[in-house]
Symmetry: C2
Subunit: 198 residues, 2 copies
DNA sequence: GTAGTACTTAGATATATATCTAATTATACA
DNA sequence: TGTATAATTAGATATATATCTAAGTACTAC
């Protein structure tokens, strides 16, 4: 549900400590310990807030030895801000209506094309249904995380053997972008959404 | 403190019920009862959320007989979204530093130019100090409320007898805007801020 | 392997807040 | 003035969450 994502975005920013963290990170990447120092907080507290920011895809992390460095994920921050305004202004009526009717299509695709163990029986041929299935899978990836091609393949294989086709579809419909063998989720605002396809 | 305003903006939007309210209001104004119906909530709950949205200046209210109509305050919503991104991206370092040093100037102006009863002894001649005094006064106005000229005059007279000069300064430094005798606060982002004046 | 460092998880506590019902206030109108 | 309608306030409750300490995990380096 689109609305929840926007709520989570705002929840992530609705805390002075997290805003201060982002402010510090806007000057460059920092590791957890440094953040705890600068913010006068315990390390677990930093972990707690970092998790929230990561869930909302507002920061990225990179591990070097046993130190984790955090940095901003500016595209996602902007994309969410934009999506929030879009939600309030651009859409309006349709939005509310959209949910129940289209919901049923989504549910029928999920129950018809996915087995009980969560695997995709076959790739839907119909465009709209294919998008629903792809989105369902892609949402299981972590936003902000950089995946190698092997990791993406292994991930997709959990759902379907033809990982090459699905990986290509991910790129084609802008669920992910690829840069020299590295894969990363796009912000949901960039995805080709089945519920806008007429 | 700038940071708190941003936090409050995001807190206001960090709740699904309030987002749904804004969504409904994006299609036009509604009264409390109608909102309660559409959202399947009790009226006190609507009052509760409306208060939060009003505090963050995201909605405006208008009373007709004993019915209160709510509508969006789009400029403020956009201004806050913008300010939030500015905070994270544009500024960075200075922001944190800015606070303590400049704080003392603000405090000295407040204690030197304002009497214990809260009235302004005299309008500061120095530009920066004048802005501090004006901002202090203007912050006592409700965001999103439309004031008549008489109301503004009466309001200013609580602080200083020369209401005409101060009213003119409010407009000049973009604290407020005027449209055929109606006055309304501008979003803080539009104010000429003393702490950015070099 | 053992020790050290950085981070995460678990569990406790205090505060905040979303929601409701019941009581109160404000306004209109007969 | 009395009654009806809409809104607000008060008070109760349940849930969420920010923070801490203590214990556990992951990785490095010797």
């Amino acid at each position: 549900m689109q609305l929840d994502k926007i709520v989570n975005y705002h929840k992530a920013l609705a805390d002075p400590t997290r805003l201060r963290m982002l402010l510090l990170l806007s000057q460059g990447e920092l590791h957890g310990h440094a953040l705890a120092d600068k913010l006068n907080l315990s390390q677990p507290t930093v972990t707690h807030h970092a998790a929230k920011l990561r869930e909302a895809a507002l920061i990225k992390e990179r591990r070097d030895k046993n130190t984790v460095y955090f940095k901003l994920n500016p595209e996602f921050i902007r994309a969410n801000a934009e999506a929030s305004l879009q939600l309030i202004f651009a859409k309006g009526a349709e939005n509310m209506e959209n949910e129940s009717p289209e919901h049923s299509l989504k549910e029928s695709v999920l129950s018809n094309f996915f087995a009980k163990d969560g695997r995709l029986r076959q790739i839907p041929a119909q465009y709209k249904k294919k998008l629903i299935a792809l989105q369902y899978i892609v949402e299981k990836l972590e936003p902000g995380v950089v995946y190698s091609e092997k990791e993406i393949n292994d991930f997709i294989k959990r759902f379907h053997d033809d990982f090459a086709t699905i990986r290509r579809e991910f790129i084609m419909h802008q669920f992910m972008y690829r840069e020299n063998g590295q894969y990363e989720l796009n912000p949901p605002e960039m995805w080709t959404r089945w519920d806008y396809v007429k």
